[in-house]
């Protein structure tokens, strides 16, 4: 058994099989031979690119939250709603708890993800670990399942179709920002940010 220390080993999270890390090419990923789970993928993003995309994400996040996702109109009356409005409408009455889940899923988790990424990556660019690096990285792991912008995007599209039969629906800037941001977050906040542990 030629072991070069645990650092070079990778353990399958689905079945506990142990492998030695082998380099992967672009578009390649390493699969567990036993259970078929993905061990790791090739990460095509460098620190600089990832930081640039995170800053882009921050800008999109501002747009997605400040501008209405859509506006409706009917007989001269009109009303528009932002993401925050849709959280607020749930917080009234006896169902406040779901407003908290919703706020986490579509506002707080993405905001935290982007903020943590910008923080960690801007230090990494200078070749240093950010203060609280370990905690930030663990937060990013923990937040991932609760960040649901892509579900929110589909939800907004369903809402457009649901309402389009009854009233005039005008998609807003918020919806476009949401569409771009949901794709971007999947790309930059995925599992491969773990590579940062080795890079800085």
């Amino acid at each position: 058994m030629s072991m070069s220390g645990p650092r070079n080993l990778i353990i399958c999270e689905y079945c506990d099989a142990v492998y030695e890390r082998a380099p992967v090419q672009r578009h390649q990923r390493a699969l567990c031979t036993r259970c078929g789970g993905v061990l790791y993928r090739h990460s095509s993003l460098g620190i600089q690119q990832r930081l640039a995309l995170s800053v882009t994400g921050a800008v999109l996040l501002v747009f997605a939250n400040l501008y209405p996702v859509m506006t409706i109109g009917m007989q001269g009356l009109s009303n528009s709603a932002t993401l925050w409005d849709s959280v607020l409408i749930l917080s009234s009455g006896s169902i406040t708890f779901i407003a908290l889940v919703m706020a986490l899923a579509i506002i707080f988790a993405p905001v935290l993800q982007i903020a943590l990424l910008c923080w960690v990556l801007s230090f990494a660019l200078a070749g240093r670990r950010a203060p609280g690096f370990a905690m930030c990285m663990r937060c990013l792991e923990g937040l991932r399942p609760w960040s649901m912008l892509e579900v929110c995007l589909l939800g907004a599209l369903v809402a457009v179709i649901k309402l389009a039969g009854l009233l005039d629906v005008i998609p807003g800037i918020g919806l476009i920002a949401l569409a771009a941001l949901s794709v971007l977050i999947i790309y930059i906040a995925g599992r491969d940010i773990r590579d940062l542990w080795e890079q800085v």
Partner: protein, 214 residues
């Protein structure tokens, strides 16, 4: 194809915080890299999994029976449930949207209940049946888990938009709370289950773990 070595047999443990292979032989219980607590297996994975799953099943009943939203249009009000929303789209001819909502709000929870129940049951009995497929099933459950939030988001957005005084208003109703709880609880159930239990042999501990991996 020779079977890869098991982390347990090498005295190693995967850190769920950062993916590091940690050495357990020196008696450490935290990852030296990120400081997260190390568990060779998740604590009480099966008991917790069942508990969350049953809680989710209980909430699933009011989620489907209670109205999720109340529509007030030009003086006439009506309540609608989740199934009602699907039927409404279907009858209006928008079968594609009906299908999306049906899959997200009825199909996905049903598949999750069934899959998690199956995974918990087989892991509990230490079954060696279709291990690879069960691993894939777990990954599928992880992947589709949160798409059921779709309904909650649709109701929230629609209710936030349709606030036209005098013409029409839409308000959320408690059904959506229960529906959201089902989603959250099944996500907790999937997270507390440990997929490595699928591969654990109850009686026999590590036969051929001589070779180095790959």
């Amino acid at each position: 194809m020779n079977t890869p070595a098991q982390a347990e047999d090498l005295g190693l443990c995967l850190c769920h915080g950062c993916g590091q292979a940690c050495d357990l032989s020196d008696g450490s219980h935290t990852c030296e890299r990120c400081g997260a607590a190390l568990h060779p297996r998740k604590t009480n994975a099966i008991t917790r999994g069942w508990a969350f799953l049953f809680a989710a099943l209980v909430f699933y009943v009011p989620a489907n029976l209670l109205p999720v939203m109340h529509t007030e249009m030009l003086g006439s009000g009506s309540d609608s449930t989740i199934v009602g929303g699907v039927i409404e789209f279907w009858e209006a001819g928008a079968w594609d949207i009906a299908l999306i909502i049906f899959i997200a709000s009825i199909g996905v929870p049903a598949i999750k209940f069934f899959s998690l129940g199956l995974l918990l049951f087989t892991a509990q009995s230490g079954s060696s049946w279709a291990r690879r497929q069960r691993s894939q099933l777990y990954r599928g459950v992880e992947l589709i888990g949160y798409w059921s939030m779709l309904d909650v988001i649709v109701v929230a957005l629609v209710a936030a938009l349709v606030q036209l005084r005098g013409l029409g208003t839409i308000e959320p109703r408690p059904g959506i709370l229960f529906f959201g709880m089902v989603v959250v609880l099944t996500m907790f159930a999937a997270m507390s289950f440990d997929p490595r239990l699928i591969w654990d042999d109850p009686g026999n501990d590590g036969g051929g773990t001589d070779g180095a991996s790959e």
